[in-house]
């Protein structure tokens, strides 16, 4: 009897003590405390309510919003779908011209940023540059990143190059975008360089190459696809950013937007919005295709399109977040203490 009880396992209905003293393994898992989680949610809720009061939102305005969306939406749709006589065709041409000017602004801005970002990226990569240079360059880059592009535009570029579509405003916008692109681009590029595979570096050093040769033959082939993807991504961002500069007087779609909204010509607003959506989506598609092609479909210096044709067919969103999300690299900035 006693023997049977002693041998009883955990599943036994017997009331006697188990053979072993209770230890951590016998205890049921304790439900983790939700106190911190609840406190956190409470804090978020309080901040939210405080912010709602702080912003001084007028919720009465929301009541009229659906009605005005429908009303103005109908006006815009009427503008888009009206028969394109001469005036309306002029509106479409004007919108496309302004949008293409925005694309050109973004392209020149990206080029200016790209020109400076590659050398700065190398200087800001820990494995490529000495510590003092690294610290100084990183600091300069983080200052550039903290300054929004409208500041460059207002403070320097617009007075330097002039206002308006015809008067150099486009160039001013492009230069402002270019200068403010340098920060993000160099940072992303330096992270790509830091993540480079060490093998080729070591072997090129072992075969007696100097710093420049090492960069050319060991680093560039590895990072170039990623760098091109980063530049293209920034180009997409710059197209959107050029709109706000246009409102300030830098030409492009922003200038047209503020004109048509100022006049409240809803048919033209509809046309402009459709043009923005079409061109932006088109550019995004092309850019995503090139990025995918550059990263997956054979590298740039060999005509590797055919063998890898099959991986162009894949959905391939896996590679996007790496380039698309700026948040992840910020941890590294924390590590660098900047």
């Amino acid at each position: 009897m006693s023997t049977a009880n002693l041998n009883a396992g955990p599943g036994s209905t017997s009331q006697t003590k188990p053979r072993f003293a209770e230890d951590a393994l016998d205890r049921r898992p304790v439900r983790p405390s939700k106190l911190r989680y609840n406190l956190g949610m409470l804090a978020v809720g309080i901040i939210f309510i405080a912010a709602v009061y702080g912003a001084g939102m007028d919720f009465g305005a929301l009541l009229n919003l659906p009605a005005s969306i429908i009303q103005y939406g109908q006006l815009m749709a009427a503008g888009v779908f009206q028969a394109p006589d001469e005036t309306v065709a002029g509106y479409w041409t004007q919108s496309f011209d302004a949008m293409f000017e925005s694309v050109a602004i973004a392209w020149v801005g990206t080029m200016v940023g790209a020109l400076f970002s590659l050398p700065l990226g190398f200087l800001a990569a820990r494995n490529m540059s000495p510590l003092p240079v690294y610290i100084v360059v990183r600091f300069v880059l983080s200052v550039i990143r903290a300054v929004p592009e409208i500041i460059f535009a207002i403070a320097i570029m617009l007075p330097l190059f002039g206002f308006g579509s015809g008067g150099g405003g486009a160039l001013a916008g492009a230069m402002a975008l270019g200068v403010s692109s340098i920060g993000t681009l160099s940072k992303l590029i330096s992270e790509a360089i830091e993540a480079v595979d060490g093998g080729p570096l070591e072997s090129s050093r072992a075969s007696g190459s100097n710093q420049m040769q090492m960069i050319r033959w060991a680093v560039m082939p590895q990072v170039m696809p990623e760098v091109i993807a980063i530049w293209l991504y920034r180009f997409e961002v710059n197209i959107r950013a050029s709109a706000i500069l246009g409102v300030l007087g830098a030409g492009g779609i922003g200038a047209l937007l503020s004109t048509v909204f100022g006049a409240r010509e809803w048919d033209r607003i509809g046309i402009v919005l459709v043009v923005i959506i079409v061109v932006t989506m088109l550019v995004d598609q092309i850019s995503a295709f090139i990025r995918h092609r550059v990263i997956h479909g054979g590298d740039l210096r060999s005509d590797g399109g055919e063998p890898q044709e099959d991986d162009d067919a894949g959905p391939g969103p896996e590679n996007e977040p790496r380039v698309e999300n700026d948040p992840a690299p910020k941890e590294n900035r924390a590590a660098a203490g900047l």
């Binding site: 939210f48 405080a50 912010a51 709602v52 009061y53 912003a55 001084g56 939102m57 007028d58 305005a61 929301l62 009229n64 919003l65 005005s68 103005y72 293409f100 602004i105 392209w107 020149v108 080029m111 903290a146 929004p148 409208i150 207002i154 403070a155 320097i156 007075p159 330097l160 190059f161 150099g168 486009a170 160039l171 492009a174 709109a243 706000i244 409102v247 030409g251 922003g254 937007l257 503020s258 909204f261 409240r264 919005l273 932006t280 995004d284 090139i290 054979g298 740039l300 210096r301 060999s302 005509d303 399109g305 969103p317 996007e320 977040p321 999300n325 948040p327 910020k330 941890e331 924390a334």
Partner: protein, 343 residues
């Protein structure tokens, strides 16, 4: 110079005993076609060019002339093609090079790219730069109400935008959406939302419900930032959901979870770290954006800045801008702290 050394290095092994594989010679016909493309682009440049600069080529008996800038463009394209051919670069990459040059030429011509005017126009910048270097420090505190509005707008827009963005992302990713049609539809809607720039949304909502002039600036600003945030958060989060570990999802399916339970218990915990960091990233974007959007009449610090700018009081603008840089840096540090605490 890089490409010549490529050629040298590729030529060298041929002399050696062991013949190393070398890149195949690219098709000359395709290169000819690319040269034709360059010529076509040259003609287009000629037609659309606005500057009257002309290149004169005296040949003794007759003086040829050609437009200066397109000729430069053509020469650059042909040289690039020649270099690519010499270095045995594939046709696709060569096409990319030519397309890049054409695009750059077009963009440069469209914005009227020139740096020659900088010295003579520098006098316009100097007074502003001096003002910016000598900001009116006492002004910084007088706009604290506007700062409060800006930060509040950013907080509200971030929280609501992230919530809506999460739901949209759940429907947009094929992993977590009820069916493929829903996912495609939501993705299309999302890319339309994303393609309108933030200032476009701001102008729309200001026109819909009235801007600062009617005391409704913050509401319009929050709605604009909301749309802006939904686009970003939904895109990033749905991409994170796409690459989620399928194990827990299968386990949830096997134990009979319905769609909501599966998404809640198998997918949400996996994407939560990414989601939180996207939220913090969007919050930073919102601070910058709401400063910029004040220009078009949504409330906050941007309105104050625009007011001072229109009065040509650059010392005050400089004070606001310096405060803006400090606030952006502080928000950056704050979100870094939160991220390290939470993740």
């Amino acid at each position: 110079m890089v490409t010549t050394s490529t050629a040298e290095r590729r030529a060298a092994p041929q002399a050696a005993a062991t013949v190393r594989p070398e890149p195949p010679r690219p098709s000359g016909l395709v290169y000819l076609g690319l040269a034709g493309l360059a010529l076509l682009a040259f003609i287009v440049f000629w037609v659309i060019q606005e500057s009257g600069d002309v290149l004169l080529i005296p040949l003794g008996f007759v003086t040829l002339w050609a437009p200066l800038n397109p000729v430069i463009g053509l020469v650059v394209m042909l040289v690039a093609l020649a270099v690519c051919f010499k270095a045995r670069i594939g046709t696709m990459a060569a096409f990319g090079t030519v397309a890049f040059i054409i695009m750059s030429y077009w963009a440069g011509a469209t914005v009227g790219f020139t740096l020659l005017e900088i010295p003579e126009r520098w006098s316009n910048v100097e007074p502003r730069l001096i003002a910016f270097l000598d900001p009116n420090w006492s002004y910084i505190w007088t706009v604290r109400d506007q700062w409060l509005i800006t930060i509040s707008m950013a907080v509200v827009a971030t929280l609501i935008g992230c919530a809506i963005g999460l739901v949209l992302a759940m429907y947009a990713s094929p992993v977590s959406s009820p069916n493929k049609g829903t996912s495609q539809a939501i993705k299309a809607v999302n890319s339309v939302i994303r393609s309108i720039p933030d200032v476009g949304w701001a102008l729309l909502f200001v026109a819909f419900i009235g801007g600062t002039a009617h005391g409704l600036g913050p509401m319009a600003g929050i709605l604009a930032l909301l749309m802006f945030n939904i686009g970003i958060v939904a895109k990033l989060t749905s991409e994170t959901i796409d690459s989620v570990n399928p194990g827990p999802v299968e386990a949830a399916d096997a134990s009979g979870a319905n769609l909501t339970q599966r998404n809640r218990l198998a997918i949400l915990p996996q994407v939560l770290p990414g989601f939180v960091s996207y939220g913090l990233y969007v919050f930073e974007l919102n601070i910058r954006a709401s400063a910029a959007l004040g220009i078009v009449g949504v409330g906050g610090i941007g309105s104050a800045m625009m007011l001072q700018l229109n009065r040509f009081q650059f010392e005050n603008v400089a004070a606001i801008l310096i405060a803006l840089i400090v606030v952006v840096l502080l928000v950056d540090m704050f979100s870094m702290y939160i991220r390290r605490k939470l993740l």
